[in-house]
Symmetry: C2
Subunit: 303 residues, 2 copies
């Protein structure tokens, strides 16, 4: 993914779907077969298809998806279909084998997370463009590794501020409970960093069937995030809030002053290796990491 | 379209898109070329593709689209992409020519009304199933021909009750104003008859950019329609109203008693032949037709 305004790039792999997937720790012949298919078939088809185009405008796609009930992190149903819409004529042009073509279109259409990975890379190029601004207290990355939760701040160079990650609260796939949950994991919080995901939940009332809560909770989540952010997004607007821009740019000063931490939509991984994703829900980063960052800021700028 | 529960069928042509289209009165070489392409290419491709399947479940598609910001009449963005998702692997299997295939996928994906015509036929089989119930005061069809607005009632046989159609209030495409508008036209009000469209506007806050008003107006439209309907839809639910079913089954007694007429989302045709669609907006049927129907009911059932 390119950021044409700032000239930076970011990358992501291709999304495997829900459930038994490597990125949540699943590991079996089924998982490996799918990865081999992604590597040997889906990847090359997408590369050839994209070579037929001038590139896809992921920011415009996201803006449209937010008007279609997505929040861009845990709900990418509309975005994945917009992605299919842009890709399918290109795929038709480059694939000769009808069986392969049908398989690729079926996979992209059925996987409601198809576009999540390009979206994460798009959020990464947006957030990276905000990094390294002298004096800035805006968060430019949040990430978890299943053990710790870390944030990086624009005006604080390459330092990460970390503390133990929490366990998400949410809904579990049939057969699993909160007993099975691992601590919060993954880099997908780059979406909230860029002003979508949990921050745009007001746009996605139907998501509560997947992450728990009520549509009013979804609305309140977005409203709360305005308290700790510095801007309303110019491109990402939410019809249920009269087309108000999403809350964007977490300010560590506001987080510490108000004691309000960011709200994150996330998947839940099983704590045992080999199982995979077992649910989805909501989580907040530990408050300490914002306090650590603010102390580091005071030290760095001699306040 | 089949109604598997009641065994009835309904039909629709294929949707041409927005703007210069025959169904709004446009007539030119461009319009005819598109119709020839629909007849000679799109139609046969869709027939062959559908023959590869067990049919598409349009009711399930609509239910999902209502969770993705559509109301199913004037906004079918998500529904049309769900339609593309179901069709694209089937199309890949049956079309040999890559150029034709790319063209068909591009047209289906770019036309945000692709699924409207199957949806109208689906609403028709639902509404027809409710027709002919002895003693019922539920409306089973509403339609306009650019001059008159008519309704048909379940317990009143094949009689239509008609009066002059109004002019929709709405937003106009660039270069057109309300001076250009024809009186309300089309059979698409079968969607409101079946409990979607204007009745489901609470699900589609983004539609106000197309038909005028605010997201709160959209919510109020749906809430008002509960006043004049007999049921909440079992399958069509709206996330912004805590997944409440759409108001379904207009009761002529309630319309007359409360003086509240149905709210309809509609396209606006130019009043001169040959131009086509010039906008989209909201309209209500004339109150008299419900009064006429209620008088006929009293007479028919000797009340």
């Amino acid at each position: 993914i390119d950021n044409p305004t700032h000239g930076n790039q970011a990358y992501s792999n291709l999304n495997e779907g829900y459930g038994k997937v490597l990125r949540y720790g699943a590991y079996s012949e089924e998982v490996l077969d799918k990865l081999r298919w992604i590597n040997g078939t889906l990847g090359p088809v997408l590369r050839e298809a994209l070579e037929q185009s001038d590139g896809l405008d992921i920011r415009a796609l996201l803006a449209e998806a937010l008007h279609m009930g997505d929040e861009g992190h845990n709900r990418n149903k509309a975005g994945s279909l917009l992605y299919l819409k842009l890709l399918s004529p290109l795929i038709a042009k480059v694939v000769k084998d009808e069986g392969v073509e049908a398989e690729v279109l079926q996979f992209l259409g059925d996987n409601a997370l198809s576009v999540l990975n390009p979206v994460m890379a798009a959020c990464k190029v947006m957030a990276d463009a905000a990094h390294g601004v002298e004096g800035s207290t805006v968060v430019t990355a949040m990430a978890r590794n299943g053990t710790d939760f870390g944030v990086r701040v624009s005006g604080l160079g390459d330092d990460w501020f970390t503390a133990p990650a929490g366990i998400p609260e949410g809904l579990y796939f049939p057969g699993f409970t909160s007993e099975d949950a691992n601590a919060d994991i993954g880099d997908s919080t780059i979406t909230e960093t860029a002003g979508i995901g949990g921050f745009a939940m007001a746009s996605a009332p139907a998501i509560v069937a997947f992450v728990s809560g009520t549509p009013q909770d979804a609305l309140n989540t977005t409203l709360e995030m305005y308290e700790i952010t510095v801007a309303e997004h110019e491109h990402f607007t939410m019809p249920p809030l009269e087309f108000r821009g999403t809350p964007t740019g977490i300010d560590i000063r506001k987080v510490v002053e108000l004691g309000i931490t960011p709200r994150i939509n996330t998947g839940i991984a099983h704590k045992e290796p080999g199982v995979g994703q077992v649910g989805a829900g909501l989580v907040r980063p530990p408050k300490e990491i914002f306090e650590q960052a603010l102390f580091a800021y005071a030290e760095r700028y001699q306040l």
